[in-house]
């Protein structure tokens, strides 16, 4: 298949799947088969693009011209390919997991759930392959809208409130800041295409660059920079598979991915370095990084703690982008991948615990590890990977980020990274430790607790193994990211 076709197909395939899911509303088994087949096919299609990108091509497809000079177009470059690979690969795993979770919990409206999931994936791939800022923006908004029904899925007052915060914050930042930043860019540069080296050089008064950068970064609300991070904890009312794939991988990573993309392709790293425009946003990222870790320590609800941990980890990526040197950017790109594997594992575990015991508070989980050893083992691995210890994948991204801070001469930022790693230890490790060694005081039916249903266990073991594999074979990740900076 020709690569440009494959890129197009990757965007439309999940939509086709969604149609299939709607048609098979009355046949749950067939419906889930469609989800799985679509997920697998999507991954294969995305994977088929790898050789072309490795050999230095950037397959492109032009869809339609919206306004003269502004079109809907796709172009696959290494960073986008990396993101699409992760999202589509983990979609397969999450689908397996969802089937166990949704059936194990007897959730209602399962068809709507799978349809929205498929649409969200299509939007994610669209974000990953966007060839210009407008295309990215369109898919970005589609992603927000398609995930709203997933957040408000339960339909309770709490779920609706969560959904309102989610939609309100994401849409208002994107329309209020991002759209403004886009129109400004379009007005100054006359184009919104992603071009290596940026499009803004000599187009804008350098004094205004920090302002435009702030508009972009706050406008990309999905990157959850404080003070626009509240939507992420609010989204935790969603069923766990949603939190796992969308709010640890697809949606939030679409945010930081856009941040990196804007840094490299709209501003251009050289321009940002020459003008020192990133200082303010770098500090915002650093503050978010530490503050979110501190908030995470105070949360007793497991998913809320993980959510704040995500906010903090996303700030790593933004911080890496704001350091604007090759090493830090490679680290930022790799962190998108390694954190995805670690955090999805943790969410899978949280969901497994909920299905098996209906517990959501960490303080109620003492001693559960002995009843659910596989789940807790996976959780330990996920936690260690996020902290950044060998032999797990998380170390690599933190390693490059740390070196990046030194290259940029930002010793304070190095300290921030290290302190945050310690904080990670403080809020993540107690969960598995108390799980294994804590006393299960008030659990009369402790014996009745078993591992979660098989599909759930398979999924979480798989992602936990993924964390390990990334330690031993980080080469593909690094290779893709390094491609970005070849010839510079």
């Amino acid at each position: 298949m020709n690569p440009a076709m494959a890129a197009l197909l990757a965007v439309f395939l999940p939509l086709l799947g969604a149609v299939g899911i709607v048609l098979l509303d009355k046949h749950p088994n067939l419906r889930e088969t469609v989800t799985l087949v679509t997920a697998a096919a999507l991954f294969l299609v995305v994977y088929s693009l790898v050789p072309a990108v490795y050999s230095g091509h950037e397959p492109a497809a032009h869809l339609i011209e919206l306004v003269p000079g502004l079109s809907l177009a796709l172009r696959v470059e290494p960073l986008g390919l990396l993101f699409a690979l992760i999202a589509s690969g983990l979609w397969i795993v999450t689908s397996v997991y969802s089937i166990g979770y949704m059936r194990g919990n007897d959730e209602s409206h399962q068809t709507r759930f799978y349809v929205c999931f498929a649409v969200a994936l299509s939007a994610t791939v669209g974000v990953a392959f966007a060839a210009n800022m407008l295309t990215l923006f369109i898919f970005y908004e589609l992603l927000t809208l398609s995930t709203y029904p997933l957040v408000a899925h339960k339909g309770t007052e709490e779920a609706r409130r969560g959904g309102r915060v989610y939609l309100g914050l994401l849409l208002s930042t994107s329309i209020g800041f991002l759209l403004l930043a886009m129109v400004w860019t379009w007005y100054s540069a006359g184009t919104l295409d992603f071009v290596k080296g940026g499009i803004l050089r000599d187009k804008l008064d350098p004094g205004l660059l920090p302002l435009l950068l702030a508009l972009y970064l706050f406008g990309i609300g999905k990157a959850a920079l404080m003070p626009f991070h509240r939507w992420l904890p609010a989204a935790m009312v969603a069923p766990t598979p949603v939190s796992a794939l969308l709010h640890a991988v697809a949606v939030v990573k679409a945010g930081v991915f856009s941040v990196v993309k804007v840094t490299i392709y709209i501003f251009g790293t050289d321009l940002l370095r020459d003008t020192d425009a990133t200082t303010f946003m770098m500090w915002i990222a650093a503050i978010t990084l530490l503050a979110a870790s501190l908030v995470a320590m105070t949360k007793d609800n497991l998913k809320a703690r993980l959510a704040y941990s995500t906010v903090s980890q996303l700030a790593y990526v933004t911080l890496g982008a704001m350091l604007v040197n090759t090493t830090a950017l490679i680290g930022a790109g790799m962190h998108i991948a390694t954190h995805a594997f670690g955090k999805i594992t943790l969410f899978f575990c949280a969901g497994a615990i909920y299905v098996a015991t209906h517990k959501t508070e960490i303080s109620d989980m003492n001693g559960l590890g002995r009843a659910m050893p596989i789940t807790y083992g996976a959780m330990l691995i996920g936690a260690l990977s996020i902290i950044g210890l060998p032999p797990l994948g998380g170390i690599w991204s933190k390693w490059y980020l740390a070196i990046g801070t030194l290259e940029a001469g930002q010793g304070i930022m190095l300290a921030v990274l290290l302190i945050s790693s310690l904080l990670n230890v403080a809020y993540l490790l107690p969960i598995p430790i108390y799980g294994f060694f804590g006393k299960s005081s008030k659990q009369p039916n402790a014996a009745a607790i078993n591992e979660a249903p098989l599909p759930i266990v398979i999924a979480l073991v798989f992602t936990a193994l993924g964390c390990m594999v990334l330690f031993f074979y980080p080469e593909p990740l690094y290779g893709l990211m390094a491609l970005l900076f070849e010839g510079q």
Binding site: I64, L179, L180
Partner: protein, 481 residues
């Protein structure tokens, strides 16, 4: 054509037949408008002297890019809402009065098309009266007794507006001795510095502003929309106020010329703040409404504010944005009112609380409402986005940051009021679970979705709308130099 069809409808006295005739007439008008636009685009301005008298004395019809475009909007909206009207109207009004409705509809259409097409200011007044009188009838035909009060209010406000316009026209005639727009535009500069012309200008703008429901002269509109039959609301939302905005453009740019309107009278300084306050006040009012139809009425007032903002930027881009929004808003508001019409057809009410849970029972209807609503908010791939894009671009061109920011903030208000409806429709259990609500019939759904698809289509393929709006704006601004 609609003028001919009107009386025949009356004579036919039969609901179905009069509907058929009205629809045919609308579609013919639509195709004529399409051909006209095509001709204007390729050959330039068309003039036609009515009754064979040459321009300055006889009544001249004059069609350039801008009114060909408005003609297309008006006839198009009418053509597409009429098929919808048949089923919806049969449910909503007394069957014996249906033929009156179609008669009034045709007269209203005649009036609106006439205002747009004519090149003679007195003729504008005549057609305006035709349109207004027939629209009072249209509103009062609803079964809801409150529609009579609403119609009466509209009548009072409308008459005041018409009187103002008439006074303005009369003053102009005294000063220049002509009623032809082209002649006026040539003769006004000579007498521009007199108080009379300035008075005429003020009277005209206030009168048209009333008709356009320009804030703060909008009080008649929400009620009129709320109590009129759904199909009629859709027609008005898509056409009546649009035509008034067109008149505003015409008088500002063609008759008086931008130099007089903006440099001498400085009307942009008055209009811009008013429009902005209007956008915010009306959007806020929309948020607290408990009736969805009335909410959309307030939203219309806000959207007219956007058009006026575009116009009062007095630049090619700004006017383009205004004209573009004229077209786009007609599409989205008509779509929204029509989908509400489906709701009325099934549950008999548009109160927010009554709409709880309809999302599940009427997926296609509410799906249409959601898409229309997103378009109103300005989500990409819908027409609303294109409007916003140009409006912001125009604001940036003037280096008016605050304006760009305010426009964006106000579209978030739209998000709030639309989303209240979505939440009620999708995530609330129905108030009365025992009641069976089914999807609206296909005769209602097909026109609804046609409008929605138009929303999406013109949001993606903007070559027609943007192209025409740009040419029209250049033409209007070009008369300045």
């Amino acid at each position: 054509m609609p003028l001919l069809a009107g009386p025949v409808c009356l004579l036919l006295h039969h609901p179905r037949l009069s509907w058929g005739l009205a629809t045919t007439a609308s579609w013919i008008a639509f195709f004529i408008a399409l051909t006209l636009l095509d001709q204007v685009l390729s050959n330039g301005t068309i003039t036609y002297a009515l009754g064979g008298w040459a321009a300055p004395w006889g009544i001249e019809y004059r069609i350039d890019e801008i009114n060909a475009f408005v003609l297309l909007i008006v006839s198009g909206i009418s053509a597409i809402t009429l098929p919808f009207a048949r089923t919806s109207i049969e449910y909503e009004i007394n069957p014996r009065r249906i033929y009156i409705l179609y008669t009034a509809w045709m007269l209203c259409l005649t009036g609106l098309l006439g205002i747009t097409i004519t090149g003679d200011v007195f003729n504008v007044f005549v057609f305006l009266e035709i349109a207004s009188l027939s629209s009072y009838t249209l509103i009062s035909l609803s079964r809801d007794p409150r529609s009579l009060t609403a119609a009466f209010r509209y009548l009072v406000m409308g008459t005041i507006g018409a009187t103002f316009i008439l006074i303005g026209i009369a003053l102009l005639y005294i000063m220049t001795g002509t009623l032809n727009m082209m002649d006026l535009s040539q003769r006004i500069p000579a007498v521009a510095d007199t108080r009379t012309v300035k008075m005429a200008f003020t009277f005209l703008i206030v009168g048209i502003g009333l008709k356009a429901a320009l804030f703060p002269m909008h009080f008649w509109l929400p009620n009129a929309y709320a109590f009129a039959p759904s199909a009629v609301s859709a027609l008005f939302a898509g056409t009546a106020t649009k035509v008034a905005v067109y008149l505003l453009l015409r008088f500002f740019f063609t008759v008086f010329g931008p130099e007089f309107s903006f440099d001498v009278m400085q009307s942009d300084r008055v209009l811009l703040p008013l429009a902005l306050v209007g956008v915010f006040a009306a959007s806020t009012a929309a948020i607290v409404q408990s009736d969805v139809k009335r909410m959309l009425g307030y939203s219309s007032v806000a959207q007219i504010g956007y058009m006026v903002i575009g116009i009062s930027l007095v630049s090619v881009l700004g006017v383009t944005a205004g004209i573009l929004h004229l077209f786009n808003h007609a599409l989205m508001k008509a779509a929204l009112f029509v989908s509400l019409g489906c709701v009325v057809y099934r549950i008999g009410s548009t109160r927010l609380t009554d709409m709880a849970g309809v999302g599940r029972a009427m997926p296609w209807t509410m799906g249409a409402f959601v898409v229309g609503g997103l378009s109103l908010v300005g989500v990409p791939l819908t027409v609303g986005f294109i409007s916003k894009w140009y409006l912001i671009l125009a604001a940036l061109e003037q280096q008016w940051w605050w304006l760009a920011v305010l426009v964006l903030v106000s579209s978030l208000l739209a998000l709030i009021y639309i989303w209240r409806v979505v939440e009620f429709a999708y995530f609330k259990a129905p108030a009365d679970p025992a009641r069976e609500i089914t999807e609206a019939p296909a005769t209602l759904l097909i026109p609804t979705w046609l409008l929605i698809l138009a929303n999406v289509y013109f949001g993606i393929d903007t070559s027609l709308t943007v192209g025409v709006a740009e040419r029209a704006a250049k033409l209007l601004m070009g008369t300045a130099s």
